[in-house]
């Protein structure tokens, strides 16, 4: 019996060890703009991601700057380049669905970094490969590996730029684990193989247009 107990304990520990390896090392405060064309179709997303101070210090380590401790947009060009290039592998942590159908993004444009109050903000625009005009658009921003913790900004987290009147935006934040976990179960059920575990940390932006 004690052996059984011991083994259960060991097995449990190992399971926990596998699980807890996923904990964030980078925090991003995001604000996003959904861009609309004149005909009311969605053309893309413009992100502004502010990194936490620790990661910001890490990222600018060794970079040359004219003024110590301050970095101009020009001085940060190479870093911004690296950032958007690396982000490609992670699909820019941005996942869009128009009326339930997955939409793809083009490579980022208009990207640059700002350094202010010792933190970096990465700005970039993701244009949709094909502009869409859905009744419902769902945009999710998250890292499924949870190495990066995405939080939408407190003020003005999402802006609709040039959206047709009557469009309603709703933002769901990944607040506490339990509520989202329950939702996840339903979603896992309905979405079948497309469901994703990392979703529970997702910021879900839903825009319904008439």
């Amino acid at each position: 019996m004690r052996a059984l107990f011991g083994y259960l304990l060991v097995a449990a520990m190992m399971l926990v060890s596998g699980a807890a390896s996923a904990h964030p090392h980078v925090w991003i405060t995001a604000s996003s703009e959904l861009l609309y064309a004149e005909d009311g179709s969605i053309t893309g997303v413009r992100h502004a991601w502010t990194f936490d101070d620790m990661f910001s210090a890490y990222a600018v380590q060794g970079l040359e700057s004219k003024t110590k401790g301050a970095y101009t947009r020009e001085e940060l060009v190479p870093l911004a380049q690296t950032n958007v290039e690396s982000l490609k592998e992670y699909a820019y942590f941005t996942f869009a669905k128009a009326d339930g159908k997955k939409e793809r993004f083009q490579e980022p444009v208009d990207y640059f970094l700002d350094y202010k109050d010792a933190v970096l903000t990465l700005h970039f625009t993701l244009a949709l490969k094909n502009p869409v005009k859905p009744k419902q658009l769902v945009l999710e921003v998250f890292d499924r590996s949870f190495f990066i913790d995405f939080q939408m900004a407190k003020d003005n987290p999402v802006k609709l730029v040039g959206a047709p009147s009557g469009c309603q935006m709703k933002l769901e934040r990944p607040s506490d684990g339990t509520a989202t976990a329950q939702k996840l179960n339903e979603q896992t059920f309905t979405d079948g193989p497309n469901a994703n575990f990392g979703m529970m940390f997702a910021n879900k932006i839903t825009v319904d247009c008439p």
């Binding site: 097995a11 904990h23 339990t178 996840l184």
Partner: protein, 363 residues
């Protein structure tokens, strides 16, 4: 104490073994497969579905302590007493963070089970590998960032190379364990079939003569010659008698242990590197070093606790199954083999997972 076990007890043991294998396989597979949950190419470290309960709490605590570190380092610039807070936070973070195959907790536990190590050695290994892990992080940042003023990108590449090397080492280490334990297990199987092997003649002969050899050689040349003998000795005596304390504490013990320390300790924790670079940027590199060492201490305590649990669980199982009898010995050898296979699986999983993942630090 050791002879007759009730069928019920044996049944329980069998269940326990099955549970262990399932749990262990699940954990390992999790690491292999979760890299790619739905065939998507970009998944990274496993994200756990059930983030509620204990795991959720662990995650939350880790994040909480980790996030406090940067503000505390900042505060330490003007207020010396904040350093104490920093040390405490780092220590607590280490305790909570000591998780994940990358940190070698599961590797150490499996290694201890596979190699019939004592709890005392388990604790020593945990502390030594955690200390090495801290030192590697300090050296990486110290040399590349502080002395060479390298960019994050360069540092990240160095980190990436070390990471691949460490996962490769785990896999190699696992492979060697599987080889040795596999042979032992096969011998135990063979021995168990005709007679419930009690100490046989060949075993006595071999074991003792090799002991002699070992001692003879050791005085003249050490290291390789000795190691070779130890190896052979291990394979031969494994199947029919359990470990005696002298075997474990015997010569070569620390060499074997060193492989484990190196395997686990060479991979620095990304958290420690971030803290060190941040501290350096604040002009408080020494505070970063202190924080890293305290993190290591916290990590060591958790890993040591798990090592002790793993070793005691195995000892209890050995006693209950009557490790000296044929069936019990077979059971224990099988268990050791399973643990060895687990180390290999972890290594392979991490190695394969790396290719798709872990780049995030470089971004």
């Amino acid at each position: 104490m050791k002879s007759h076990r009730s069928p019920l007890l044996r049944g329980f043991l069998a269940c326990a073994a099955v549970l262990l294998v399932i749990g262990v396989a699940d954990a390992a597979l999790h690491d292999v497969l979760a890299q790619n949950p739905f065939g998507a190419p970009k998944s990274a470290q496993p994200a756990e579905p059930e983030a509620g309960g204990l795991i959720g709490w662990l995650l939350a605590k880790q994040s909480e302590f980790y996030r406090q570190m940067s503000s505390t380092i900042r505060a330490a610039k003007s207020d010396g007493s904040a350093v104490w807070t920093l040390l405490f936070i780092s220590f607590a973070y280490g305790i909570f963070h000591a998780a994940g195959p990358g940190h070698g907790k599961a590797v150490i536990a499996s290694y201890l089970v596979a190699n019939r190590e004592t709890a005392r050695r388990g604790i020593a290994l945990s502390f030594a590998s955690a200390l090495m892990q801290s030192m590697v992080a300090i050296l990486i940042v110290g040399i590349s960032a502080w002395i060479l003023n390298a960019t994050a990108r360069t540092m990240c590449k160095a980190e990436g190379a070390i990471e691949i090397a460490s996962y490769g080492l785990i896999a190699l280490f696992g492979l060697r364990l599987v080889w040795v334990k596999g042979l032992t297990f096969i011998r135990a199987l063979q021995a168990a079939q005709p007679v419930p092997a009690m100490a046989g003649v060949p075993h006595d002969h071999h074991a003792h003569s090799h002991h002699q050899d070992t001692h003879d050689h050791q005085h003249h040349d050490h290291g390789h010659a000795h190691h070779g003998h130890d190896h052979v000795h291990d394979e031969h005596c494994g199947h029919s008698h359990g470990p005696t304390p002298s075997e474990l504490a015997g010569p070569g013990g620390w060499q074997r242990g060193f492989a484990a320390i190196l395997t686990v300790g060479i991979r620095p924790c990304s958290g420690a590197i971030l803290v060190l670079v941040f501290a350096l940027a604040q002009g408080l590199f020494w505070a970063g070093i202190a924080a890293t060492l305290l993190m290591g201490l916290g990590t060591a305590i958790t890993v040591a606790a798990i090592a002790v649990v793993a070793v005691s669980a195995k000892d209890v199982a050995a006693r209950l199954s009557g490790a000296r009898d044929g069936g019990g010995a077979l059971f224990m050898r099988g268990l050791e083999f399973g643990a060895a296979a687990l180390v290999l699986l972890f290594g392979a999983g991490l190695l394969l997972g790396y290719i798709a993942a872990e780049r995030t630090t470089c971004f």
